[in-house]
Symmetry: C2
Subunit: 499 residues, 2 copies
C-alpha cells in the first residue's frame, strides 16, 4: 500500500465501523465458515453438476434467513432468486451477483486445489504463509486472505449479503426497500441465460434499482459506486501457414511464417504507446467538463500501481487510468503457435493464433467494433474467413488468409449518476460512512449485464467490495478478510436506502 493510499485507508478505517460491519467482526468465525463452505464447491460454469450443487447450497442459506427462494431454471445454469419484503416499502432493490467462477488451470495454483480454499497470513506474493484452521477459527486478522477460485469474484459478496441480513436482524434495522436477489450461474461464461430469463420471470425481477455486487472496491476502502462498465467482444485470430508444419531449415526464408505474419498483423493494430490504430475505433468519445471533474476526483494512486505491477511504462490511451478506461481496448490475452520451451521444434508452424479481448464503451457497440477490426485486417492484405476454416483453394488463391472468430459480445452500459434512485443510493452511503462515495463513470471490467439492464428497464449501479489485488481471473484468486468484513457494512448501508 502506498503512503498515499495508506493515509486514506487509515482514515477510512479510523471511523467507527458500520453497525453491520461491527456485527460481522463479532461473528466472524461463523461468517468465514459459511464463505469457506461456498468456496469448496467447484463453480466453473461448464461443470454443471457442481454448479447446481452450489445453487442448492445458496438456496438453503438464503431460505435460512427468511428469504423466499426459488431456483429459476434456464436453458443453461439455474438462477437463484430470493426475495424479502420490507414493511411500508414502496420500492424494490434488486441485488445481482454471480455464483460461478472463472475456469481454472490448477497447475498454476499454489495450493492443492482452487476449490480447497486455504488461509494465508497476508498476501502470497509478499511471502505470506498458510495458516491452518480455516473455517474453524474464531478470529481472523484483517490482512489475512482466503485463497480459492471465486473468493473475490464473486462468492464473497453473496456471503456478505447473508451476513448483512443477519446483522440487520440483530441490530433491528431491516432493509427499507423490498429486497430481491438474483444470482447468476454463468457470468464468467457471458451470462447467456440472463436476458432470456426476463421473458420467463419479468414480474419476479421487477425493481426500481439494481445493485451489481461484483468487482474491487477502490484501494482506499472508501465506498465506491460504479455507474457503468465496459462491454467486451473476444476474438480468435488465426493466421494460416503451410498446410502442415514444415522443417524450418528446408523451407525457412521461402515459406511464410504464420507467427511472424500474426505478429505483423497485431503490430499494425496498435502504436508504440498502446493506442489502437484501427480506423474509427475511438469514434464518438468525448468528455464534458463534469465528466472530466468526476474522472479526476477518483483518488487513484497510479505510482503505487506501477510499483505493484513492476511495469516500466504505461500505455497512453488516456491521460490517466480513469480516462483510459473510457476508451475501448484491444488486449492480446493469449498467443499460441506450436511450442516454446522444452517441446519447441524447428518447424514453420501450420498456424498461429492470438486470443484477443476488445473492451467496449457506451460509444462503441460490439458489432461496430467487430466490423472496424475486420476492415482493418483486410486492409493489411488479408482474405478473411469467419467461424470456419479456410479451404485449401482459398489459402492458395490469396496472398494471406486469416480466420477470425468473434464471440461473447456484450455491450457496455452507463447509468446516469443523476437518476433519482441512484442519487438516493449515493446519499445512503454518504450518510452511513460520512464521506462521499467514490464515483466511477465507467469501470474497466465487464459485467455481462448491459442487455439485461436494457431489457429490465430500470437503472443499475455497481457496489464493488473486494480487494483490487485479488488475482481475479488468474491463478491464486483471493479475498482479503478486512475487505470482506467491511463489505457487510457497505451492503447493509445500501439496503437502508431512503424510501
Amino acid at each position: 500500500m502506498s503512503p498515499f493510499f495508506l493515509s486514506l485507508m487509515l482514515s477510512a478505517a479510523a471511523a467507527p465501523p458500520h453497525p453491520a460491519e461491527a456485527y460481522a467482526r463479532a461473528h466472524q468465525g461463523q461468517i468465514v465458515r459459511e464463505l469457506v463452505e461456498a468456496l469448496s464447491i467447484p463453480d466453473v460454469a461448464a461443470d454443471r453438476p457442481n454448479i447446481r450443487r452450489k445453487a442448492e447450497f445458496l438456496r438453503g442459506r438464503f431460505a435460512a434467513r427468511g428469504f423466499e427462494v426459488e431456483i429459476l431454471e434456464t436453458a443453461g445454469n439455474p438462477l437463484v432468486f430470493a426475495r424479502m419484503g420490507a414493511a411500508d416499502a414502496s420500492r424494490t432493490l434488486l441485488l445481482y451477483a454471480h455464483y460461478d467462477g472463472q475456469p481454472v488451470d490448477p497447475s498454476g495454483w499454489k495450493q492443492e486445489s482452487p476449490f480447497k480454499p486455504i488461509l494465508r497470513n497476508g498476501k502470497m506474493d509478499d511471502g505470506a504463509q498458510e495458516i491452518s484452521g480455516l473455517g474453524a477459527l474464531d478470529r481472523y486478522e484483517d490482512d489475512w486472505r482466503i485463497y480459492g477460485r471465486s473468493a473475490s469474484d464473486d462468492t464473497s459478496p453473496i456471503i456478505a449479503i447473508l451476513a448483512a441480513i443477519d446483522a440487520m436482524k440483530a441490530t433491528k434495522t431491516m432493509p427499507t426497500w423490498n429486497i430481491k436477489v438474483i444470482l447468476d450461474g454463468e457470468e464468467e461464461a457471458g451470462s447467456p441465460s440472463l436476458v432470456p430469463a426476463i421473458s420467463l420471470y419479468r414480474d419476479k425481477l421487477a425493481a426500481d434499482l439494481m445493485l451489481i455486487l461484483d468487482g474491487p472496491i477502490h484501494p482506499t476502502l472508501r465506498p465506491t459506486l460504479v455507474f457503468g462498465a465496459r462491454g467486451i467482444v473476444t476474438a480468435a485470430i488465426t493466421v494460416y501457414g503451410p498446410k502442415m508444419g514444415l522443417h524450418s531449415g528446408h523451407y525457412g526464408n521461402w515459406v511464410p511464417n504464420p507467427g511472424m505474419r500474426l505478429a505483423q498483423l497485431l503490430a499494425s493494430m496498435k502504436d508504440e504507446d498502446g493506442r489502437v490504430k484501427v480506423a474509427g475505433y475511438y469514434d464518438g468519445i468525448t468528455f464534458s467538463e463534469e465528466d472530466r471533474k468526476a474522472l479526476a476526483s477518483v483518488p487513484d494512486d497510479e505510482a503505487a500501481l506501477i510499483q505493484l505491477f513492476s511495469i516500466g511504462s504505461v500505455d497512453k490511451v488516456g491521460a490517466s487510468l480513469q480516462e483510459a478506461l473510457q476508451y475501448p481496448s484491444l488486449n492480446v490475452r493469449g498467443l499460441s503457435s506450436s511450442y516454446v520451451g522444452a517441446l519447441a521444434r524447428t518447424i514453420i508452424p501450420d498456424s498461429a493464433t492470438a486470443a484477443i479481448d476488445l473492451r467496449l464503451v457506451k460509444e462503441s457497440a460490439a458489432r461496430d467494433i467487430e466490423a472496424k477490426l475486420l476492415k482493418h485486417i483486410e486492409s493489411q492484405g488479408y482474405f478473411v474467413v469467419q467461424e470456419r476454416d479456410a479451404t485449401e483453394a482459398e489459402r492458395l488463391s490469396h496472398r494471406r488468409t486469416v480466420r477470425v472468430d468473434f464471440s461473447g459480445e456484450t455491450n457496455a452500459y452507463r447509468t446516469d449518476p443523476g437518476d433519482p434512485n441512484a442519487v438516493k443510493l449515493t446519499r445512503a452511503l454518504r450518510n452511513a460512512f460520512g464521506v462521499d462515495p467514490i464515483r466511477i463513470r465507467t469501470s474497466g471490467g465487464t459485467v455481462p449485464i448491459a442487455p439485461f439492464i436494457d431489457a429490465l428497464g430500470f437503472p443499475a449501479v455497481s457496489v464493488p467490495t473486494v480487494n483490487f489485488d485479488n488475482n481475479q481471473h488468474g491463478e491464486n484468486e483471493n479475498v482479503r478478510l478486512g475487505h470482506f468484513f467491511r463489505s457487510v457494512g457497505i451492503i447493509a448501508a445500501a439496503m437502508q436506502i431512503e424510501n
Copy 2:
C-alpha cells in the same frame, strides 16, 4: 507430384535399378522388418535408457554384417562406431548418421504411439489407410509409407547401410574404400558430444571423406549431393508484462500488454516479404556466376511445393528457393502467452514468449548473428537480460524489458565441390545412375556437424535419400518405401567410389 517432377521421376525410375536396390527389393520383407524393429525403440535423445537400447540394437546389427563395432562412450549418449576394411583400399569413407529422433508430442500423432510404427497404403494426408502386417509382409508397394518417429530422420538411412552391405556381399561388389560408420545419439539435441569425442577417438574417426546420410533426396529421386548445410541458433525471447496476470478490463489500455509488445518487436525484425531487417544480417553474402548457375540447375518445382503446402505467397529473400537457402533465416517456431481457446482468460498476461530459430550460412557465424539480433532488440527500446529473469527493479526502471536466451549454436559448413574426393564421389554416382547428381550448394537444414567437420579436417558431403514430404520434426513422420529401397542403391554406389 507435379507433372514436371513426375516426368523426371518416372525417367529416373525407368532406368534399371542399381544392383543393390534390386537386391533390396528382392529382400524387402527382411529389410523392412529390420527398419520396423529399429523404429520400435523410443529414441528421443533425452530418454537415455531407451537410446542406449537402440545403440545396442544397432551394434548387434552392424556386428552381424562383419563390422568391427564399438560403443564409444561420451559425456552424453553413446556413439556407435563400426568399421570394415576393404582389400587394397588406400582411402577411407566415414559414414555419418544419427540414431536419435526429434522429441514427440504423442497427442498430435494419428497412431497409438510414435514408437509403434504403422504402415499406410500411401500418404496419410491424402487419405491413405493403415495396412496391417507391417514387418511380416514379403511385398510392399513403393508408395506405401511407414509412419513413426525417426522413420526418415534418421533411422532408415542407417538400416539402408546395412542393406547395402548385404546387397554388396550378395553381388560380390564390396566397398572400394575402407568403410567407417559413426552413429550419433544426440543429433536432434545438437550433437553436444561429437566434437569432444574427437579428442578421445581421433584415430578411429580418421578418414578421407565423410558422407552425411541425413535429409530428403530431391523430389525427382535423382541422386543428390549436398555440399553444405545451414547452421542454427535458437532463441527464446520473453517480453515482460505486469508482474502478475491482471484483469484486462480493469487495466486494459493502461498496463502494457506483453503479447502486443512481443508482436511489435517481432514485426520490427522482418519486412512484409520475409526479409530480415536486422542490420547487417545478410552481410558478406555474394554469389559467383558459377554459384548462380549451380543454384539454377537444381530442378525445384516451386509451383508444386506451393500447391502442396497450400500457401498463397512465398517470402522474397532470394529469387528462388535455392537462393533463399543461401541466406540466414529468422523463423518464429513457437509463440506462447497465457492461453488461447477454451482456457483463454480475459487477462493482461505476465509475459509473452517467442521461440525463434535463426538458420545460419557460412557467412554468418552464430555469435555474430546473436550480437546483431541483440543490438536490434535494444534499438527497439528494450533493456535486455540474458539467461536469467529480470529483477523487479530492472523492470520498473526501464520502459521495456525483455529476456533473451540463446542456445544450440551450430555454425554452417560448406565444402568445395572441387575437392578431389568430392569429385570422385560425384563421378561414382554419375557412373552408377547415368545422370549428373543434383548438387546443392547449401541445404536449408542443419546437421550439427560443422564444428565436427572443422575439427576432423577432411571434407564432408551429404547424401540425402528420404522423401521430402516426410513430416520430419513434426507429427506423423514417415518414410516412403520406394525411397527407402532406392537409398540402398545410392549408398552402395557411394561406397564404390574410385580408389
